[in-house]
């Protein structure tokens, strides 16, 4: 591992030791964050799967009915029957912070007005059924939308976080440790050489003074 390009001085050593401390602490925190994110992610992903399966089933049903209704009625009538919304879905859009990631949070308020948006005389019963099912499907789809986005965003964030953890663990911290070690031994070496020099000088002076 490459060591940092710094002068082996006491000042640098002190600075590096502080940086090392921060890096280790940061690494621990990020690792904890990563663990917690993964835990939440697995919760969301299960919910996501459940909702999607549910939505797919209902939607399939609704669309089959819709196809039936269309087959039984004329083009213009179908257009008429389905163009008017029978329910007004109110979405409460907000954002929520999951581990500091801003994710969407949707609250669905379906307002069933009861009746169908057309007169019963000209429309087949398949259409009624289809309209009702599609409303259910959309309610679930809206919930699914929020959860799915959460999963996607959390996944991105987990990957990003993992990269940070790895950068600290395998690059930053070893680098700092190596540099600290280098400076410590260098300083020790300097000290020893100074000491031996002094001893040598002393013995030389003693010799000269002619004992």
């Amino acid at each position: 591992m490459a060591r940092l390009n710094v002068n082996p001085t006491r000042m640098e050593l002190k600075k590096l030791k502080n940086r090392h401390k921060t890096a280790v602490r940061g690494h621990k925190l990020l690792k904890d964050k990563s663990d917690e994110m993964i835990r939440r992610f697995s919760v969301y992903i299960k919910e996501n799967k459940r909702l999607r399966e549910q939505a797919t089933a209902i939607l399939k049903d609704a669309l089959t009915q819709f196809a039936n209704a269309r087959a039984l009625m004329g083009e213009a009538e179908t257009e008429n029957a389905f163009s008017m919304p029978s329910t007004s879905l109110e979405l409460n859009l907000s954002t929520q912070s999951v581990m500091n990631v801003m994710v969407p949070d949707i609250e669905v308020k379906a307002d069933h007005r009861g009746g169908m948006p057309y007169s019963y005389a000209q429309i087949t019963s398949e259409a009624d059924y289809s309209v009702r099912r599609i409303t259910d499907a959309i309610t679930i789809l809206a919930q699914l939308a929020a959860v799915e986005k959460k999963v996607q965003m959390l996944a991105d964030e987990i990957v990003r976080n993992k990269r940070r953890v790895n950068a600290l663990e395998y690059v930053m911290i070893p680098q700092l440790e190596e540099t600290i070690h280098y400076i410590t031994s260098k300083l020790g070496e300097d000290e020893r050489s100074a000491l031996t020099r002094l001893m040598k000088v002393k013995s030389m002076i003693n010799e000269k003074n002619g004992d």
């Binding site: 992610f41 992903i45 389905f82 919304p85 309209v131 799915e148 986005k149």
Partner: protein
């Protein structure tokens, strides 16, 4: 809410109070998406288009809104695929679908 779809099926969504837009191909769907992304918070899109525009859809993952949701249209299940790749990327293991493969 809005939906972009490739056939008459999107008409069914109209009855549920969703604004429907019909696109002939992925290019047209992309144009719609670009416009609608500014106005709608939730945009549904049929699976086929989502698969073709998957690269384009990635940019929407940066912000909370708008949300693009793939809706199954009988042509594979792109939503589940997305879920699976997200999971594999984040966790490195398959915790949901593992048993189904074997």
């Amino acid at each position: 809410m809005a939906i972009i779809g490739n056939g008459d099926n999107v008409l069914a969504f109209k009855a549920g109070g969703v604004d429907a837009f019909t696109a002939k191909d992925a290019q047209e769907a992309r144009e719609y998406l670009r416009k609608l992304a500014k106005e709608y918070a939730v945009i549904f899109m049929t699976d086929g288009f989502c698969r073709e525009l998957s690269q384009y859809l990635k940019r929407f993952n940066e912000t909370a809104y708008p949300i693009i949701v793939p809706v199954p249209d009988g042509d594979g299940d792109f939503g589940m695929e997305l879920l699976r790749t997200a999971m594999e990327r984040a966790l490195g293991v398959d915790i949901l679908f593992g048993r189904e493969d074997k």
